[in-house]
Symmetry: D3
Subunit: 175 residues, 6 copies
């Protein structure tokens, strides 16, 4: 059987359960996922509190745990590629291509990413929504800032990373 | 047992059997390797013919094959992180840290990388040499250019990637 | 007779009939116009939907048609120079100078461009307004987004370019 | 006695009397101050009207006058270092370190700067407030724009620089 | 008849008679030429002595003179587009496309440009050589530096620009 | 008496006694010197081993000592401004101006800097040579690398900085 790859583009600020649901959905159709971490150079801002390395760690720990827990994922492989912004949208797709192995389909919820890949002739799938209101980065960062419950909205392994690096304090001090 | 991570820094132009030997050496002491692809923005030059994405593919295919062939590597995990140059050596270590999960030791053969990580207080191990004359990027690129035998010096999966992308023609036309 | 050149700075998102009126005004006093396309690296955003190349095409097609239709423009020459932002206003004028032939006067409606050229000792003319409310990029992009009539506000050739590249859909999907 | 150095980070848009009070406070504990001018590449905007060179001149003239007037400052030395933004917060501290001599303590009122230096293990002191409402860059730029009295809020030497470079007109034309 | 466009890529350091011969060749098959000035940000070095603006002026003056002198060129249109380097070869073609109107064929003598456009699926024509030894930028810059005769190797209008801007002195002082 | 300022441009890799002689020469005609540290972003290379901050420290310590030792320098003021490269020579002068207070004359030994400031209309003085062969950065870095005597060629305070930061080892490991 041929390898079939999907590219998932997101900022993962932070990784949350909605992302995991999308990855599970992708795993049903593809045997490889390339996860592109957008705006990888950003960190320590309200909108992008976590560094690329911290986001890589959240993804790696959560996906390894998923593979250990669930036999369906035993042969599902992932790659995590930080993608720095280029400040020139018309070359962005070719920038992504230069950083990644070949892929067959693009998954994203971002309008600009959707448009850019479509203009370049790629198949773009709009990922399912899964109770979208709650599982969104903005909403989760707001809960962390306001001291509300947020741990249940992100994978256990991501919550551990956030606590270990002092992410709660970081979000509160920067806001 | 705790995870112990090593960071291996190289340009992988192309990935060759010397690199694989170093990775095997690292796998004896660590259960995780983070492979940092240096000068990731470079491609299509004599010194850096392959894109980051092409180098990621060479590494991924070769390491997955290694894991399948060899039971010792079953639980050895790898991450592959492209690292673009920053043109300011004194901030380079902190740039690498911002892109990667935590690591315990740095492996590299590059003098500048060695010096920069040492000044930042890291433990740097100089990787073993393994018949170094032949297993060097410069030498392999020269052989490809001159039409000599080079496939035996790189992992089978890397040779496949190079052929598939027209890498032999690329190196010849650019030189 | 000496060549007298004017530099016209704008973003042309998109080129509209107000711009054409300014160019006609300039053509009465000068035999050459250098059209500097500001923020040339921007595209696919709400404020800057079109690439530099698309904006060059709108300008070229519209001005060639103007020269064909109108004998007064037969000997009026134009140059179109994309000008990427430099993110440092105090060097911007010298950046523009490095990209363009010599010019005698600057035409612009932008406050910052006006101030920077004045501080550098240039003569800056504020272009006439010509029913400004309607002939503004912001207003035209809004009309396109809302599905209102916009074609009558831009030169026929610019409207053709916008339709050909799928510009209407692009603006709607990005907004 | 050993030299003890403090690093003071600010944008100085413009230098005002609140900054001078902080510098006087620092002079009681340290015999050297390194003044880092943040966002040094910015100028000619509402938020950052003055160039790095203009801000250096305001600081130099005001501090030299302070040293001449006040015997306590005779042996207090200052360095003024422009610090361009790096667009990657996680490498910013290491960028500052690469541009400055060693320092023992950081003074700043900026939340992001505070957080970044704390994560890097530095001692950060929050400078005293001194009638903060009035002595703030935003407030002073607003007064200049609205034609209200502002000279009394900045050192005499800074006001002279602002007038000499046409800073009042610049702020009004750009707003 | 449809417009057929060719893209000619060169550095034009300086424009010389070999370039004009290529443009005349292109004019036989196409009714429009887009001239892309490569490495447009470079100037005042041995290899790239002239600014983009100076190179634009050489091209414009020489081509306008050609159109006036020669009836075959009456309806041949040119566009001159400065193309700054991007330091990432794998996105360079998409960078060029974002700056230019559509073109049907690429003319260049540069190996890297040839390879990059071919990998992107474009038709690349290797321009005729026309006594190549003499009509090369390197050779002409050498003659200027050594005080030998060089004017006969460049169009009259280009020689005028070089003299007017002090180009001879510039090349001598920098070498 | 009016302040008269000179701008001295150099890379100071490292600061050496030839530089001090030039500064003493400048101090006879001017009451203020602005020292621009060129290529400030470079470090840890053979040609540019020291960071901007390390070079600032060498300059500051040596000049403060000069002022203490020698009454002629009591009222001679200095400013030290790091100047990062801009990779576009035609905007470099305007970049320097944006970072510095006003100056009356430029001192430099660099051909490119000389040419750029002359084209911009500045007075450039070629600094005296003072036994130039020995007092050159290249020569001093070579001596350090080869383990020869070099301390006598640089101010005592600069030698202290170099030893304290491990500069001798750095040069040897990088070469």
């Amino acid at each position: 059987m041929d390898t079939k790859s999907a590219l998932l583009i997101g900022r993962f600020q932070p990784l949350h359960s909605g992302h995991i649901k999308v990855i599970e959905e992708i795993a049903r159709d593809f045997n490889e996922i390339i996860i592109g971490i957008g705006s990888s150079q950003e960190s320590h801002t309200q909108k992008n509190p976590f560094t690329a390395g911290e986001r890589v760690t959240m993804l790696k720990n959560s996906l390894d745990s998923l593979k250990n827990r669930n036999n369906n994922f035993k042969n599902f492989n992932y790659l995590i590629i930080p993608i720095p912004d280029v400040n020139n949208n018309s070359i962005w797709v070719s920038h992504v291509i230069s950083l990644t192995p070949e892929f067959d389909v693009v998954y994203t919820r971002n309008k600009l990413v959707t448009r850019l890949f479509k203009e370049a002739g790629f198949v773009v799938r709009r990922q399912g929504l899964y109770d979208r209101g709650r599982h969104e980065g903005t909403e989760i960062r707001r809960k962390i800032f306001e001291g509300k419950r947020w741990e249940e909205l992100v994978p256990k392994e991501a919550a551990e990373v956030i606590r270990k690096i002092g992410g709660v304090e970081r979000i509160r001090e920067l806001s």
